[in-house]
Amino acid sequence: MTFVMAVCVAACVGVSVYLLLGRDLKGVAMGVFLLGHGANLSIMAMSGSPVLPHDKGLSPSNLKAAPVLGKHVPDPALAGMVDPLPQALVLTAIVIGFAVMGFLLTLLIITNRSTGTLVVDRLADEPVCTTRTDTRSEPFQPAGALS
């Protein structure tokens, strides 16, 4: 199972790095989302109870035990319980990723509307802020004004 998870994480992260390095912002956005999924999967892969180096006698069965209960499960009904914390963490990360996705898509649309391009190279031509040449070529806008 760990191997499968590792392959999934590797695939997600690999594809996302490829996309992130591209020039098209749509692809970059997809890369960011995929990276988030990779991160979430890696948390799931690393979940389970802590693997401390002094625990030599760990068996696979108690690796995924809930941390509070440990091996000393008070009730047989709870024996199959896994550590819920990583799932809570992943859920939080997913919620945040969802909000980020909405923001990024909106930003893409606005950018596309106001600049007409989503290619990084062409976006980069925009001046950062008023520089010497800009001041001379177009009317200066006072502090705080929105260019």
């Binding site: 389970g48 802590p50 606005i110 976006l123």
Partner: protein, 597 residues
């Protein structure tokens, strides 16, 4: 003071932000709500500040390693107070300088939510909650960054947004790895476990790697050397009040995270020297890059942005030195740098309005026309450079003194040189804006210039500036209170035991080496709330007095009163709040991580 009220520092801005959402079109109301909220936060933070106590609250009443702890101690308190002050000033300035449409476009909710995230990241005692706080802060800052949708703003916003999103993913991975390695995400518990493991020379493999991943995340936010490049591109494109808020507050959150986490958790055992070297090299290069950037950039805003980077370099240098005095210097320096950098950008806004340009080569002779602005700006610049009577001095002095004392001769030399060069950079800015030649006006610019000059900067801009400068001068001339706070923060950072004791509870009854066979537990809430119900943690934990010791809270073994019979109150009115500690028998059992046979 009930420590539960620490959370108000986060809740007040969050509530203010919420109130501003439906009122977004009524600017006057929003401004008043926001200003009141930040002022209240400032007063609350100042009144809670005390060098020798830490207020700890456990959210939801869940005991320390299981729930989320919020810690208001000297270090976090100072940062919260400074951030609230800066936010207040920026809000006041924005009321005069931000165009109405931008302000209506959710400026007020976003600023308030951002400050909620910032305060939460200062206060939190939990690694994953730090991630959440970062995200709250970042989501709001993304919104603020593209506020007004200038083309340049949009183009540069991608740098900031995408880098931070990648950093967030790395943070998630690192938090997962920390949980996998240490079995906890509570900072105090992490500190306890790592100290224990380091003492046995048994740090898990990959510990240093995780620390470096976290360092990457925090230093990206802080703008430390290899990861500084986005900062002078993105911050200056915003409206100036937002630039001031970002420049003052956001980078310091990253710096604070390093100062909080690394001495506490990661600078232990074998990993310590390695990480110390990494932070040290990063800090020194950051100072160098920052100072050369400040000398080289041609626009006022970008030059000032480089001073943020210098400041972060100093702060991290103090952390890397890892002496109590140096960390105290870092804390002092970060807090004063927040105030001073925000003041510098606010002043920059006023100067731009008068000069109609932010290009330093265009020159300006503002001293003739605006002498008082000149005085204010000079005070700000000297504070940035850290000349003695101003507030910038103490922090740098403490850091460099301790660095020299601890044998960091070369790096301290670089820090001193950077300080000297930053004086030069500051003078360059001063000379070209206030003592420069009368700028030549091109015919094409004439109209814009006349229009800009006609636009008298509002009184609010000056009010905000004066507020921050008063605070900064107060720190410079009456530093005792702040120094004792910073020294307490430094001592605390170098003796993690005190922090651990404050968060996890001061009493650590001898944990039986053999796991107690737990009694039968029927459910999560079945445990009767016992003595720890009323005092989940001591309201005051005197940081100096607690010796370093493992402080696993084992709640007083409850009268294992019959968990099978949950309290069924006759009427809901008689219902008490159950404090949802993990079921007592389980909590009394030792942590599986430490006592697994």
């Amino acid at each position: 003071m009930n420590p539960s009220f620490v959370i108000l520092l986060v809740i007040i801005p969050a509530l203010a932000g919420l109130a501003c959402v439906p009122l977004v079109n009524r600017l006057g109301v929003c401004r008043i709500i926001g200003a009141l909220g930040f002022a209240l936060n400032l007063v609350l933070a100042l009144s809670l500040l005390s060098p020798d106590r830490a207020l700890v609250t456990q959210l939801g009443g869940w005991a320390a390693p299981y729930g989320i702890s919020l810690v208001f101690d000297a270090m976090s308190g100072v940062m919260v107070a400074a951030a609230s002050l800066v936010a207040l000033a920026c809000l006041v300035h924005a009321a005069g300088s931000l165009p109405d449409p931008a302000e209506r476009r959710y400026f007020h909710p976003l600023v308030n939510f951002m400050m909620a995230g910032v305060n939460l990241s200062f206060l939190t005692g939990d690694l994953f909650n730090l991630f959440v706080a970062f995200e709250v802060m970042l989501m709001a800052s993304y919104g603020l960054l593209v506020l007004g949708r200038g083309k340049a703003q949009l183009a540069q916003a991608y740098k900031y947004v995408l880098l931070n999103l990648v950093a967030s993913a790395v943070f998630v991975i690192a938090a997962g790895m920390v949980y996998g390695l240490l079995g906890t995400l509570n900072l105090a518990d992490m500190a306890r476990i790592t100290a224990e493991l380091a003492a046995r020379d048994a740090l898990p493999a990959g510990f240093t790697a995780v620390a470096v991943l976290l360092l990457f995340v925090f230093t990206l936010k802080a703008g430390v050397f290899p990861l500084w490049f986005w900062l002078p591109d993105t911050y200056p494109t915003c409206p100036i009040a937002i630039t001031a808020l970002f420049g003052g507050v956001l980078t310091k959150v990253g710096g604070y995270a390093v100062a909080r986490l690394f001495p506490l958790v990661f600078l232990v055992g074998d990993a310590g020297p390695v990480l110390q070297q990494i932070i040290l090299v990063g800090a020194v290069l950051t100072m160098a890059v920052g100072v050369f950037g400040a000398l080289a950039f041609r626009t006022l805003r970008r030059s000032l942005a480089m001073f943020i980077i210098i400041g972060v370099g100093y702060a991290l240098f103090g952390v890397a030195v890892a002496q109590p005095g140096a960390i105290a210097g870092s804390v002092f320096y970060m807090a004063q740098s927040m105030v001073v950098m925000a003041a510098a950008f606010l002043a920059c806004g006023l100067i731009e309005t008068h000069l109609t340009t932010d290009d330093l080569r265009d020159g300006g002779a503002l001293q003739k026309t605006h002498p008082w602005l000149g005085v204010l700006f000079l005070v700000v610049l000297l504070s940035i450079a850290g000349l003695p009577p101003t507030s910038g001095f103490y922090g740098k002095f403490a850091i460099i003194r301790d660095a020299l004392g601890a044998g960091f001769t070369w790096t301290a030399t670089v820090a001193i040189l950077a300080g000297a060069l930053s004086i030069l950079a500051v003078l360059r800015i001063w000379c070209s804006t206030f003592w420069g030649p009368e700028p030549a006006v091109l015919p094409r610019d004439a109209d814009a210039r006349a229009a800009a000059l006609a636009r008298v900067p509002s009184a609010s801009g000056y009010a905000a500036l004066v507020l921050l400068i008063t605070a900064s001068l107060g720190l410079g001339f009456l530093p005792q209170g702040m120094v004792s706070l910073a020294q307490s923060a430094g001592r605390q950072a170098t003796t993690p035991g005190a922090y651990v004791a404050a968060v996890m509870g001061p009493v650590a009854p001898a944990v039986p080496a053999v796991p107690v066979k737990p009694a039968k537990a029927t459910g999560t809430h079945a445990a009767p709330a016992d003595a720890s119900h009323d005092a989940p943690q001591p309201p005051k934990a005197h940081l100096e007095t607690h010796p370093k010791r493992p402080a696993r809270t084992a709640p007083t073994p409850a009268p294992a009163a019959d968990p099978a019979a949950p309290t069924v109150p006759a009427s809901p009115a008689a219902e008490e709040f159950h404090v949802r500690l993990p079921a007592t028998p389980l909590a009394a059992a030792p942590h599986p991580a430490e006592h697994r046979p």
